[in-house]
């Protein structure tokens, strides 16, 4: 039995598509460029635009030990792809069985399900067993299955190409601004509020501690200026975020503690979206609580200043729609 890419797909009346296939983790500006070309090619061909993407990501299944943390959850990734104007975003459940499909089998199933007239891929596209199928094979198969192939070169900012690994490298350095430059939007984390250390409250900085953040990349240790959306609100609340390692629990367990400025309410058990604006400083040791408290007051001033400097359309239209952020959303203690 040949594994099926689209087990539940009724393909009898599929429309013609201009398709792309990829992981699109982060849906960064390079991806956005490619997806934009898919949309215009679909318009030119009077076809639907479609994006096939994998969930989990192939590396997470095939080599989990080397698979890097993600930049977007699956749900956000699909929404961000759709926000580029793609008509149908189709996640393929990736398994070892799917990975064992030979290149022609893979293409045949895609063709039967979605009738592509054109397939648009990046130049590093590879598919099928052992990633043996490359863009040349995809193109040769186009003669058999009547589609054309357009290969899109990577784009960049003049110094380097946009890539997910560049975003990860930026986050690993705490450089959330350069990560945002490549993403074309601020980097954000989603999580659930759990009871954290009470220390923050005693210091006069009550924090909501995030957990269940999935496999997302967490920026380097330090203090960040951020905006937070609560589960119930459409507004964004200025926040000072502490990212660090939890010394009492496990050296490797990272903690994300959010101090929502001017917000006083019970968030326990609710979801938060934290959008990183800028880094205030790196992590630091303090001799005594008094020193820590005075530094935190300075951090808070700096955070307010950094958030005040954000442009009025921050974090951008796509994210506003996806997160359903209302107009005039920048509220709170400024």
């Amino acid at each position: 039995m040949i594994p099926q890419l689209f087990p539940d797909f009724d393909n009898r009346d599929s429309e013609r598509h201009v398709l792309t296939i990829g992981n699109f983790d982060g849906v960064h500006r390079g991806h956005q460029h490619l997806l934009g070309l898919v949309v215009s090619a679909a318009n030119a061909n009077e076809a639907q635009s479609g994006a096939l993407t994998f969930d989990p990501l192939p590396l997470e299944v095939l080599r989990p030990e080397v698979s890097p943390p993600r930049l977007t959850s699956t749900a956000d990734r699909l929404q961000l792809i759709r926000a580029c104007g793609i008509d149908s975003v189709i996640p393929i459940s990736f398994t070892r069985e799917i990975a064992s499909l030979e290149a022609p089998q893979f293409v045949e199933q895609v063709v039967n399900a979605l009738r592509p007239v054109e397939i648009v891929v990046g130049s590093d596209f590879a598919f099928g067993r052992d990633r043996s199928g490359n863009v040349d094979v995809l193109r040769l198969l186009g003669a058999l299955f009547s589609y054309t192939v357009t290969v899109v070169d990577r784009i960049g900012d003049g110094t380097q190409d946009f890539s997910s690994s560049r975003v990860r490298a930026g986050l690993a350095n705490g450089d959330v601004r350069s990560a945002a430059e490549i993403l074309g939007r601020p980097y954000f984390l989603r999580g659930t509020v759990v009871v954290g250390q009470r220390r923050g409250r005693e210091l006069g900085f009550p924090t909501a501690n995030l957990a269940e953040m999935g496999k997302l990349s967490i920026p380097a240790d330090g203090i960040y200026a951020a905006m937070t959306q609560t589960q119930s609100g459409s507004a964004l609340i200025p926040s000072m975020v502490y990212v660090g390692t939890n010394p009492t629990f496990n050296e490797k367990a990272r903690v994300v503690e959010v101090n929502l400025l001017g917000f006083d309410g019970d968030l326990y058990g609710t979801g938060l979206v934290v959008l990183f604006a800028d880094r205030v400083r790196g992590d630091q040791r303090f001799e005594n609580p008094a020193q820590l408290i005075s530094q935190m007051h300075r951090d808070r001033e700096r955070t307010i200043g950094l958030i005040g400097a954000l442009s009025s359309d921050w974090p951008g239209q796509a994210l506003r729609e996806i997160l359903k952020i209302g107009n005039g959303a920048l509220t709170g203690d400024r």
Binding site: A103, P104, D136, R139, L140, G142, A143, L144, D153
Partner: protein, 296 residues
């Protein structure tokens, strides 16, 4: 305005190589356009097009190597060795070669091999194009020729579909290679689709699609799309001529080689960077004889 240069085009399936030339002629509103190394209508990929004086240099490409991605369908023969001829389900053997045995088969084709061109090829025997005779149903003895395969790798294989990456010398018929690989594999086989991924130094990644050219190519934008004629060959040296030498050159007079390196040909430039053309070393080896002169 005189335009000279090389356009690296990604020919789609369908049009003839000459159709591509005709489109570029129309876009540039000029006659002097030609192509190197014909691709059959059904084949696709890198087609090198010369514009202006660069057409005179296209023959330099005819000696350079080619690279193809080929889709070979095993288990079947066709009379013409490709999909355009009638398919003949040949051997009743159903044993499907393993990837290992395919690898062994391919290894036998690496190096200098003897190849019989397909009967439908555009080569002539006794002054008659082979394909004419083949179409008349005449059986012709096609002489074999020596070609060089420098690399032959499997891109993907699932019986009956075999995808290979071929690095070969000019004049190699991938169609014949596909037929011979099929025979050696014991299944028969034919070339289903051919993609030229490289011609000389020009790669598919660097090629413009026809739709990109249709959208933007015109005489004014030519420089954005074209490569300098000197890009045609690595083997040519570049030489900057003194103003006096440039004047002599324009009059068709040879220019002293002095201590120039020992190349057979040279691209000549003015001090300002203007391309003067191509010089060929004289038999005595002392001067560059202008073999192609470009006028400002």
């Amino acid at each position: 305005m005189d335009l000279h240069g090389i356009l690296v085009v990604d020919k789609p399936r369908g049009p003839t190589s000459h159709d591509v030339v005709a489109r570029i002629r129309r876009l540039l509103s000029m006659r002097q356009v030609g192509h190197a190394g014909t691709l059959d209508p059904a084949a696709e990929g890198v087609l090198v097009v010369g514009v202006g004086r660069a057409t005179k240099l296209l023959s330099a490409l005819s000696t350079s190597s080619k690279r193809y991605a080929a889709h070979i369908v095993l288990g079947m023969d066709s009379v013409s060795g490709d999909v355009e001829g009638p398919a003949v389900f040949g051997s009743s053997k159903v044993s499907q070669p393993t990837i290992e045995s395919i690898g062994e088969v391919l290894e036998r084709f690496i190096g200098e091999i003897q190849q019989v061109p397909p009967a439908h090829a555009a080569i002539k025997v006794d002054g008659q194009p082979l394909y004419r005779r083949a179409r008349r149903g005449e059986s012709v003895v096609v002489p074999s020729r020596t070609v060089l395969i420098t690399a032959l790798n499997v891109l993907d294989y699932q019986y009956p579909d075999l995808f290979v990456d071929v690095h070969c010398s000019v004049g190699t018929y991938v169609r014949s290679l596909a037929r011979d690989i099929g025979e050696a594999a014991g299944t028969g086989g034919y070339l289903h689709q051919l993609l030229r991924t490289q011609s000389g130094r020009f790669r598919l990644d660097d090629a413009w699609s026809l739709s990109e050219l249709e959208r933007g190519l015109c005489a004014e934008s030519f420089a954005q799309y074209a490569r300098h004629p000197a890009a045609l060959s690595d083997e040519f040296a570049a030489h900057i001529f003194s103003p006096e030498a440039a004047v002599a050159w324009y009059h068709g007079r040879p220019v002293s080689r002095l201590e120039q390196p020992n190349y057979a040909q040279v691209h000549a430039f003015e001090v300002g960077g203007f391309w003067l053309g191509v010089g060929t070393r004289s038999d005595e080896g002392e001067v560059w004889q202008p073999s192609l002169v470009v006028h400002a």
